[in-house]
Symmetry: C4
Subunit: 256 residues, 4 copies
């Protein structure tokens, strides 16, 4: 039986004993910026999985692993004990329905409160519709003081940006936390919005490390960023070639 | 935890002691006419907020304020004590799902009854698909006597108009109130339907003031109406220029 | 408070004392054939309203009457005592969501059982995508014996028609009734599917009268059929004129 | 009353006394491959129906049989006692909503557990977007050991295929079973995805028979496969003729 929103606690708070943990959320979204950062943390830090979330609001399917085994769409919460204790929320999907976003965020808040979370940092991308050479990080928070703190870490606060609001878990978590009196901020890496963007993710990770006073390797993201740049260069070349070809073909077209 | 429809009472009825209040609803809609009027009342009257409504039926996002803080989509109810006591319902959004409209209207009715509302006036726009030089107000009500009263205030009752019915909270509230035996009318400012229309809002506000026997400044709406007229003039100029340009370019086009 | 599916009983079964009533359903649908017939019965027979149904599955709006009063979307059930007792189900809308159809049909069945209904006749149109000069009636039933009875009244049973099934209340009621052991048939007037079709409705009404052994005037439907035929003739003329015009304009077009 | 997910048990587990049954699922999907196989088993094996499932997640309609009687959309579960006991899940539709898939899979799991199912085999098609001359079977499973077993039966495990995951009941059942500790695999016949594919179904049936150590006639599927091949040949001819015709007409076109 998979409940509508199905929280499965694998480790109880008393088993992991976190001290004032910060919840870091990085679910799929624009440029997968938030997901890249949070997945990276889970990979490089010594974490333990404390919860899984299944939901009717995820796509009705399973994914197939390379070895032919399957996995059900889920979100996961990992605990990290270190200089600064963390809960890291990662996952395959966000809700595919509007109401589902609210129901899932309620689940995230429930887990956050269960583990005594005092601050929430959500991670995402901010799509600007053009290639971004030097990505930077913009931010928003559910408390004036936290906005100031963001600025002190070099995060840009652009008047009323993103203009369309912050959509999905990264935004709603800030609002839900505000109602519960928990401070929360969102870090958004500026990105084109057209493709997965590890370079933007690296920019977000760097701010995050400063805010959490944690130091992790960023090598992995750098490598992926280089691969992505090669790919972009190739795509550009192919596009140009295609345009040439198209012009050359023009006189020969029978049909539109 | 944000409930599906989440009513948060900030001031109890006994704290504000309203006498037979009129509920004035002005949520976003055609030309934002209703919203402009209701927001204006909240701004210029000495009101106190009595309730907030959050809902899974609002968009799953937060909005970002100019200072970088965020706010969750919500509706708000304000109380006003004066010559005529009012409850004013304003907000960021209406429901984004069909059923949600019914669920939210149930919430509005619950609050209305809690505060002893005896009459409901809903405000909206009536889109006619062309620029309207001299906006006027059309109306409908859930009771024959109230239709007559509307006429006495200069509100036009056009046979079976709006033909498509009154959609959203402004309409449903009239129906839900009818089932509860509460009289309710809708005032609709005629508007193009293409843009925010403060001029139409002013026309509605003038009728509303007469009906409520309340006098407030309309300066703010007048100013915004003037700005809007300038904007429209500019858009027209730009469109004409664009058409000229397009015609001039025609011979040079390589592709469809 | 409007419930998700909100049944309001106005007259209890013991107040109207129906004997083995037949439930006749005629809600909006293809060519409004079923609605035209059922509305006609309510108009010409001496009926009493026994129930109203409101629902979150109807459009979130009110309709405006000619006198400026409003009405909430609803379905209604009328009782008729005569040679043959009837319950007549009419209304403004069917469900606008898929699940809503099932929930509303559950409500109709609940009312049917409350009033001791022994047989259900649902009415609809069968759209064939071309103008139909001489409409006839096709049928289907939830019981072999009833299919035979339909044939004896001149109803055509076309192998596996309608091929796409019978959609909405007219179909689902047959299925839901089958699960409850209540016999039910659907009468479908063949119609173009492009417009309201009183001529097809008349064909259905004639079969229905024979099946119910009830005789009512069909004058009203005949008149509306004549008006509709005039309208069709006018539309045809206008279309032809438009085509002529279009061809004449062709050489003058600047833009596609 | 039709419940949201309405399980109707026709034979209790103690009435059919299955020993460690395998649940075989074949609902409509790509190329109707799974449905063809499961329907075939129900036809050629000596089965007894143990459950029917109705649901608000199926289309809101009834289907019309050739004799004019109707049937409500449903899924059915049949029991087979033989060398290897089976539960066979077949049906008219899958859910038409996303959440509905999860709710229906919960129902299937409930029935599976009620009858003591120890293994689940789901059947489907894998659309490759081109005609497939020699269909083969690819697979996935919710357990490494079962993947190996699939390979031993000639099922191909292609790295991370299907890339888009396995959508609907065939996929979700594997995931839901994993959460319950029940082993489950999916057999997918490679198919074009453009039409019903009995040839692909035959390939799946052959693997299934080996896995279940059951032998049934495949004649029926072979015949349908031949008919389908004739049909494809005809369509190809007609397409070619249409293209010729179109080219010939070209010079005569007045309008785009």
């Amino acid at each position: 039986m998979i409940e509508r929103v199905d929280i499965r606690i694998l480790k109880k708070p008393e088993e992991v004993q976190l001290k004032d943990p910060v919840l870091v959320e990085g679910l799929p979204g624009i440029g997968h910026v938030g997901k890249l950062v949070a997945d990276h943390l889970v990979k490089v830090l010594d974490v333990v999985k404390v919860a899984e979330i299944y939901s009717h609001h995820f796509p009705p399917q399973v994914m197939v692993n390379e070895d032919g085994t399957i996995r059900l769409p889920k979100n996961e919460v990992y605990a990290y004990k270190g200089e600064r204790d963390l809960l890291i929320l990662v996952g395959d999907f966000q809700s595919i329905s509007n109401e589902g976003h609210y129901e899932l965020v309620n689940a995230y808040m429930k887990i956050a409160k269960m583990f005594g979370v005092k601050r929430i940092l959500t991670l995402g991308g901010y799509g600007v519709g053009r290639l971004v050479e030097e990505p930077y990080v913009i931010g928003a928070a559910n408390k004036k003081e936290l906005v100031e703190e963001l600025k002190s870490y070099g995060v840009k606060i652009e008047e009323g940006e993103p203009a369309g609001g912050i959509i999905g878990a990264s935004g709603l978590l800030l609002g839900a936390a505000m109602l519960e009196g928990i401070e929360a901020a969102c870090l958004m890496g500026v990105t084109s919005g057209y493709m997965v963007d590890p370079k933007s993710a690296k920019a977000v990770l760097e701010v995050l490390m400063k805010m959490l006073n944690i130091k992790v390797s960023t090598e992995d993201l750098e490598e992926r960023a280089k691969e992505m740049e090669k790919l972009i260069a190739q795509i550009k070349e192919m596009q140009e070639a295609a345009v040439q070809q198209y012009r050359g073909d023009e006189d020969l077209r029978y049909f539109r």
